[in-house]
């Protein structure tokens, strides 16, 4: 029952400092080759049954993600990318095949065990933000720590630090309604970060945002990657996938392409900046 403790504490401030020194790609590639995978799917299938109709959402997917990667999963609607995301997020279990998360077989965990994995190892970012209404930004970010049993004082300090990390240190007491879409998504990212997870799963994180705030969000993701976090982003926009170092394409429940690329730096182009202001 101590599986949540395996992650070595990361000194975030030091990582941030290093992140701005640049030249990260080569070092990241070295890490990719050496470390054991954080995510490993082996022949994962998922079959839904609604009445007599059998829907094969995933048909034998093999995928491994190394620590420190920023992976974009692309696919049209109905391609099976959402199912893949749900399985990665321990919200759903595969019909066949194995899912090893950080070396642990998720299929063996009970509901409480899965809850613990979601709480300690994973961080979720949703398309529609999914912040609790009429609840302040700070309290929204505190939620995962509440379920982790972190004492009140430490919880508030960590939630505050996470909001400052995403640039919302001035908006702690704001309710979601009082925040713009981009700000809401940053609160959600702070909430995903606050439990110090190993893997961030983002499901169409820019789907409800304009192009400028989309770039901001992706820029934040790139920063987090440089700090050593692993991120998997589901998207159907090639523009967004361009910011990832690896693109996985899903079609009809199968992975049809898996390529590494040099990610585009998520900075606003001058003309975009002009248009936005």
């Amino acid at each position: 029952m101590h599986e949540g403790r395996e992650a070595p504490p990361r000194g975030e401030s030091r990582d941030i400092g290093r992140a701005f020194q640049g030249g990260e790609e080569n070092r990241a590639m070295d890490v990719v080759r050496e470390a054991p995978p954080l995510v490993e799917l082996r022949g994962v299938s998922k079959v839904y049954r609604t009445g007599d109709v059998e829907v094969r959402a995933l048909r034998g997917v093999d995928l491994s993600v190394q620590p420190g990667e920023l992976v974009a999963i692309m696919g049209t609607s109905g391609s099976g990318k959402s199912t893949l995301m749900n399985i990665l997020g321990c919200l759903d279990k595969p019909t066949a095949g194995e899912y090893l998360l950080d070396g642990r077989n998720v299929a063996r965990l009970d509901r409480d065990g899965l809850a613990r994995v979601r709480n300690r190892t994973l961080g979720f970012v949703f398309q529609s933000f999914n912040l609790l209404a009429r609840t302040t930004a700070l309290e929204n970010v505190e939620l995962p720590l509440l379920y982790a049993g972190v004492p009140t004082r430490e919880r508030q300090l960590r939630a505050r630090a996470a909001l400052e990390r995403v640039g919302l240190g001035e908006r702690l007491e704001h309710h979601p309604k009082q925040l713009s879409g981009g700000q809401q998504q940053r609160v959600a990212i702070a909430r995903a970060l606050v439990g110090r997870p190993r893997l961030i799963l983002a499901d169409e994180p820019t789907g409800n945002l304009d192009s400028r705030t989309s770039v901001e969000v992706m820029s934040l993701f790139q920063e987090l990657q440089r700090e050593g976090l692993t991120l998997v982003v589901v998207t159907h926009e090639p523009d967004i996938a361009a910011y990832a170092g690896r693109v996985v394409v899903v079609r009809d429940g199968r992975i049809v392409a898996d390529r590494r690329q040099v990610p585009q730096a998520a900075v606003l182009l001058p003309e975009e900046e002009e248009a936005a202001s």
């Binding site: 999914n130 509440l146 379920y147």
Partner: protein, 410 residues
């Protein structure tokens, strides 16, 4: 997540929709209030009945002499004098459960003042009688044991007699009335006692010493026998039964009745009558309380209904919480504590309302104010039980939601 956090969460969720929370709790408020008020009403009624019986004396026994049997026509209890003055003396002195005993000899006789007359019940008795039958003196004093031994010609008048002979409010102490042509000096007037349960006027009575009664009122003397009944007062209400068996035992011995032979007297207890009345008021309060309990259950169903609505409304919130690491039991606790908070809040407000209503009613009917703490605790406990019982289903439903569906819920 600890209990305090869960409680805070519940309080916030309930405060978010205040009107709905209050209306939901209203069912419990009314239920608990009704239980407490109804039981208080029942108890108040019982206490007031008790008061009536206390005024008659619940620790009271009546000894009726035996029945006559003239050629097969049996006269019933009281038709044959079988109690002797020695029996009375023995009852007064020998029995530990008996505090006092007094005879009651009755005769309907005309009483004359200087310018008026009135036919009333003249009672011949001993001074103990006033205490035994809970008579108090409004004016003057009762006659004394020496008066009784000397056969003094003194009388204590009831209020009705005073009203008719001297006019309402007059003080006749020191005046002389004539009973069967014998002058009696008025030494006291009893306080008004009102009607007996069967409509007799208690106050239409004149009391004289039993010795004077035998000499001046009763036509022929029965010598050693008492031509009336004997009232016995037990040392306490709880000792009434003990006194009853002691008296029966003593009289059987004194009358030399063999084993199996029927009593030639009858010992009756007013407590028996009182018990019957108590039972009927108890049935009434039980009925009221069960109606109130039904309303409490209805209140619980109201809570369940609203909790189900709340779970549906907050499906997405539940999905988010699960995705962030809430265990099923965290979700269960959240909604259960919410239901429990609603019902306990309703219970407390209802208890306050019930006590208030009971107070108003007690003042209205001049009953003693009776709110039993055990009933309040019971009603609160029951409302908590209702909260858990009817909150469990919605809470369980919430905890079993599929997070994927919940997150997709619009």
């Amino acid at each position: 997540m600890n209990l305090l956090e869960t409680l805070r969460l519940a309080a916030r969720a309930l405060l978010r929709s205040k009107t709905r929370s209050v209306l939901t709790a209203l069912g419990i408020i009314i239920g608990v209030g009704a239980v407490i008020a109804m039981v208080a009403i029942g108890d108040g009624a019982r206490a007031s009945v008790q008061k009536v019986f206390d005024s008659m004396g619940t620790n009271l026994l009546i000894i009726l002499p035996g029945s006559s049997n003239a050629g097969g026509a049996r006269g019933g209890f009281g038709s044959q004098p079988t109690l002797t003055w020695d029996d009375l003396a023995a009852i007064r002195t020998e029995l530990p459960a008996v505090r006092a005993a007094a005879p009651e000899l009755r005769s309907n006789t005309q009483v004359f003042s200087d310018d008026q007359n009135w036919t009333t019940t003249v009672v011949g008795t001993t001074p103990d009688f006033f205490d035994v039958r809970s008579w108090t003196l409004a004016k003057g004093a009762a006659f004394t044991e020496p008066d009784n031994e000397a056969g003094a010609k003194v009388v204590v008048l009831g209020q009705t007699v005073v009203d008719n002979l001297y006019g309402a409010g007059a003080n006749p102490v020191g005046q002389v009335v004539r009973i069967n042509k014998t002058p009696f000096t008025v030494v006291g007037v009893t306080a008004r006692k009102g009607q007996s349960p069967n409509g007799q006027d208690y106050d239409n009575t004149a009391f004289i010493p039993s010795t004077s009664f035998l000499r001046s009122v009763q036509a022929q003397s029965l010598g050693a026998y008492i031509s009336g009944v004997v009232f016995v007062q037990a040392v306490s209400s709880s000792q009434t039964e003990q006194a009853q068996s002691e008296v029966t035992q003593l009289l059987r011995e004194r009358h030399r009745l063999a084993e199996g032979e029927a009593n030639d007297f009858d010992v009756r207890s007013l407590a028996e009558l009182a018990n019957g009345q108590q039972q009927s008021t108890q049935t009434l309060s039980l009925l009221l309380a069960s109606i109130a309990a039904v309303s409490l259950v209805v209140g619980g169903i109201g809570i369940m209904n609203i909790m189900l609505v709340s779970v549906t409304e907050r499906t997405r919130e539940i999905g988010v919480r699960v995705a962030l690491g809430a265990r099923p039991r965290d979700i269960l606790a959240q909604f259960l504590v919410e239901a429990l908070t609603l019902s306990m809040l309703g219970g407390l407000l209802g208890a306050a309302a019930g006590v208030g209503v009971a107070k108003v009613l007690a003042a209205q009917f001049q009953w003693p104010m009776l709110v039993r703490p055990d009933v309040v605790v019971l009603a609160l406990g029951f409302s908590a039980l209702v909260g858990v019982g009817f909150g469990l289903y919605p809470a369980r439903k919430a905890s079993l939601l599929d997070p994927i569906d919940a997150l997709r819920y619009e």
